[in-house]
Chain length 341, copies 2
């Protein structure tokens, strides 16, 4: 069995770690490929930073800082202080020392002509990810910018990382702009993984700037819809609140309610279309099945009526066991659709 | 009074620090400009490393590690271990954490289009160098390679840093090759400093790969010979041995004895020519005056006869006071030539 997951950073990493555990227990023959969001990536201090790929790499390698929730365990910040003293990085974004090793290696390889996919493959060679393979959604640079209202009237944009990290997503976003999107293509590894997939899972990641960015890469939505395998989504919203992160601020910017049902309709049933965002046309839908938390059981019937096979399950990933149980539920929802079709 | 020094790394840094002290005591109106060797520079792990410029920067800023003799004081090596684990840097060259901050800043600025001179100016803004201004000898990349005999016969080249750091200059060098030299030009800051100079001092740095590289930049030797100011050299050799570093291995490669007199003749009297190196023609000479150690007093008369005003003085820089005394002796040797002319 080949399982493909679409994932953003920290939440996606926890889900995939749970999935890996579920596979270890119940499907030891299964392979896991993860298509990872690259829309949060940016250049800082001359280095290419890929936060979501790193969250997955560190978490699956057991190198992540569980307490802090991001970055490397046992991290220090000696170099960051130097970079800030020289004025090459802002005071609101700190690069840890161990983390910088990854950024320097990545940038060196990129500068020498390697694609991001090749870089990710090389980084994975150092660590044992327990059989999970990571693929950037695209090898092309598509950096997300956020448009906000200016104090003096009018509007201006800032890089997603500044909006997210410096302003904690508290500046109301007017819209998101994915720079370079039109010329981007899905990575070969992502496409190959999808073609071979037996089940596709959309992790409970930010539906706008993580999953939304992945599926907005030209060709990615078509590739997803072309897979014979069922596509199962896991809600990133529980009882009207983001499981983690600031998905509510992102959803608000595109006019979608912070609600498990609204996110399902944003993705849309595979037999229909997703919600139209901004001035764009409605896009073909993605979901065969959808998992919401038991607290959101009220949305199940409506979504089913819309063509999305929805179930309510415990959605909180409190620990590895609950994450594995959730991942197994997603997997079973997909497998049920496969045998049903 | 405007003093210009030609200098390599650690030895040059100690000399300039002594000169700064001498100026503080006896010539508070004087300005010091240092033209720094860039022939040891290289790309490593996607970062541009400039060892001699950094030695001067750190030493003059009081940030150098006196015990170890190079790098930053209080240094750690957490990132270096990461880089070696990823395989982007070799195990024989360790980049300290604090030092990496400088390399990342430099590389970011270079990548954004700044010249090395602009980078050096920005780095100096952070530190108080006590009025000393550093200039790279050239803004162009001229990396030194070393040709050595191959085990299987024939010969091959390696980067100077590998020869110097990994092999401790113990592989007999057949010759040095400065890649990119023909297209290189002296930096504007170096030329402007020379034009305004009242006295030029050649520091007791490696005469082959530091001073030799500076004066081999097309246009630099002419610019030096065009200055009205006297040019005073300080021997890097005392009693047949290098004061520090591995100058003997470098001198052997170009067929010059490790001898205070031989180095003076390599540079040559300004009224004549220097020693021919390899198959190249003899170059116009540089020296008006030359300081050797009292242990080398025997060479004084011969050099004087050759047109180089030579004096024997205490040459060891044991501490700041002795370095200041040596620098003052070099300064006075120059000023004596100026009033004599």
């Amino acid at each position: 069995m080949r399982i493909v997951v679409l994932a953003g950073g920290v939440g996606g990493a926890r889900f995939v770690r749970g999935l890996r555990e579920a596979v270890r227990w119940w499907h030891p023959e299964a392979a896991i490929d993860v298509i990872v969001n690259t829309g949060d990536d940016w250049w800082l201090g001359g280095l290419r930073i890929t936060p979501d790929l790193d969250s997955l790499l560190y978490t699956l390698a057991g190198q992540n800082d569980e307490q802090r929730g991001w970055g490397r365990v046992g991290e220090s910040e000696r170099v960051a202080a130097e970079l800030q003293a020289y004025g090459v990085t802002p005071e609101w974004f700190t690069l840890g020392d161990l983390d910088l090793g990854t950024h320097i290696a990545r940038t060196a390889w990129l500068r020498s002509g390697a694609s991001l996919s090749e870089v990710v493959a090389r980084l994975q060679q150092r660590w044992d990810l327990g059989g999970v393979r990571l693929h950037p959604a695209t090898d092309d640079e598509v950096d997300t910018h956020v448009w906000v209202a200016s104090d003096a009237g009018g509007e201006h944009d800032l890089h997603f990382q500044e909006w997210w990290t410096r302003y904690r997503a508290q500046l109301p976003a007017l819209r998101f702009e994915q720079r370079g999107l039109a010329a981007a293509r899905p990575s070969a590894g992502a496409l190959a993984a999808l073609e071979a997939a037996d089940v596709v899972i959309i992790a409970p990641s930010n539906p706008v700037v993580s999953i939304g960015t992945i599926v907005s890469i030209p060709g990615m939505r078509d590739a997803l819809r072309a897979v014979a395998a069922p596509i199962v989504g896991v809600s990133p919203i529980i009882a009207g609140a983001a499981v983690r992160g600031m998905a509510d601020a992102c959803l608000a910017a595109i006019g979608v309610a912070t609600d498990a049902g609204a996110v399902a309709r944003l993705y849309g049933p595979r037999s229909g279309v997703g919600a139209a965002v901004g001035a764009g046309p409605a896009q073909p839908g993605l979901l065969d099945a959808w998992l919401v938390d038991e607290a959101d059981a009220a949305v199940v019937d409506g979504l089913r009526a819309d063509g999305i096979a929805t179930d309510a399950v415990p959605l909180w990933m409190r620990d590895l066991d609950s994450a594995a149980a959730l991942a197994e539920a997603a997997l079973q929802a997909g497998l049920a659709r496969r045998s049903a079709s």
